[in-house]
Amino acid sequence: MVEQTNSKKVYVIPCSGIGKPTASVGREAVYRVIEDKRPECADTICLGLLTLGDEETAAKVRNSDVITIDGCAKDCASKNVEASGKPPIISHRVHDYLKEHRDLKPETVLDIGEPGKKLAEVIAEDIAEEIDQLQGKDTDHREGE
């Protein structure tokens, strides 16, 4: 039974922070989504390229749903996506997940450690489900395939 799905790609964009371990967690989560969990319908872009106004990247963002994951309250990912013309449809912050999982604090920028990886996994799972909802796929059905 083929469902009517909106097969357009969803862009999942982390912030580019290199000063905070929480930013590294955001990136790890995005890689897990676009490489392991939903490789066929999710991808990412370079935030720097978008910040500079690269037309090709800006077009990708404008014509598809975008989910951002920011590593701190400065919200560079969601702010820069919004500045490019369309706000993200969903924006996450690593902190909100840290509040729910007080024990999963990432260790360092270069190595988030086991707790950081577990936190990234939790975030990646959420984003994967959001992508399914955005694409009109019923997640249970999808597992059954």
């Binding site: 912030c15 290199i18 995005v30 370079c46 720097g48 560079c76 702010k79 270069l110």
Partner: protein, 146 residues
């Protein structure tokens, strides 16, 4: 780029490069230089914070010599610095470096392995060379910092 008092810091701006394997190498190399090779001298800057930040990054980049390290030919770090802060002292293009070093293997952006770590270390050494060059040229005063 002459300045009134000689600056005591060097700004190194890496591209964010989330979608490219060279981006991961670039970011990690800059972090390595800052944490391990030139602590207290090299300050890492963050590109999107240029726009979203409170101006601290942009003002700082105007006051110190800036080296940019880009992961690919798009040169976001270099273009952004020229656009928002001013001249770039020197810059690196990691994709170009890898070509020079005849690296043809497929690199991973999310699971950097032994090869990626080795390349990160080599890129970090290149950055250190550029920083030392600035010191020799007297563009940065490391007297006080030590």
């Amino acid at each position: 780029m002459e300045m009134d008092a000689r600056p005591t810091k060097v700004g190194v701006l890496s591209c964010s490069g989330e979608s490219e394997a060279e981006g991961t190498i670039t970011r990690n190399a800059v972090r390595l230089v800052m944490e391990k090779y030139k602590p207290g001298l090299v300050v890492s800057l963050c590109l999107p914070l240029y726009l979203a930040g409170d101006g601290g990054e942009r003002d700082f980049a105007k006051k110190v010599p800036v080296i940019t390290v880009d992961g690919c030919e798009k040169s976001c770090a270099r273009l952004a610095t020229e656009k928002y802060s001013g001249e770039v002292e020197s810059y690196l293009d990691v994709r170009d470096l890898l070509k020079q070093w005849d690296v043809t293997d497929k690199l991973s952006r999310s699971h950097p392995g032994k090869l990626e770590e080795e390349l990160t270390e080599r890129v970090a050494q290149q950055i250190v060379k550029l920083v030392d060059h600035l010191i020799e040229e007297g563009k940065v005063d490391i007297g006080g910092e030590g």
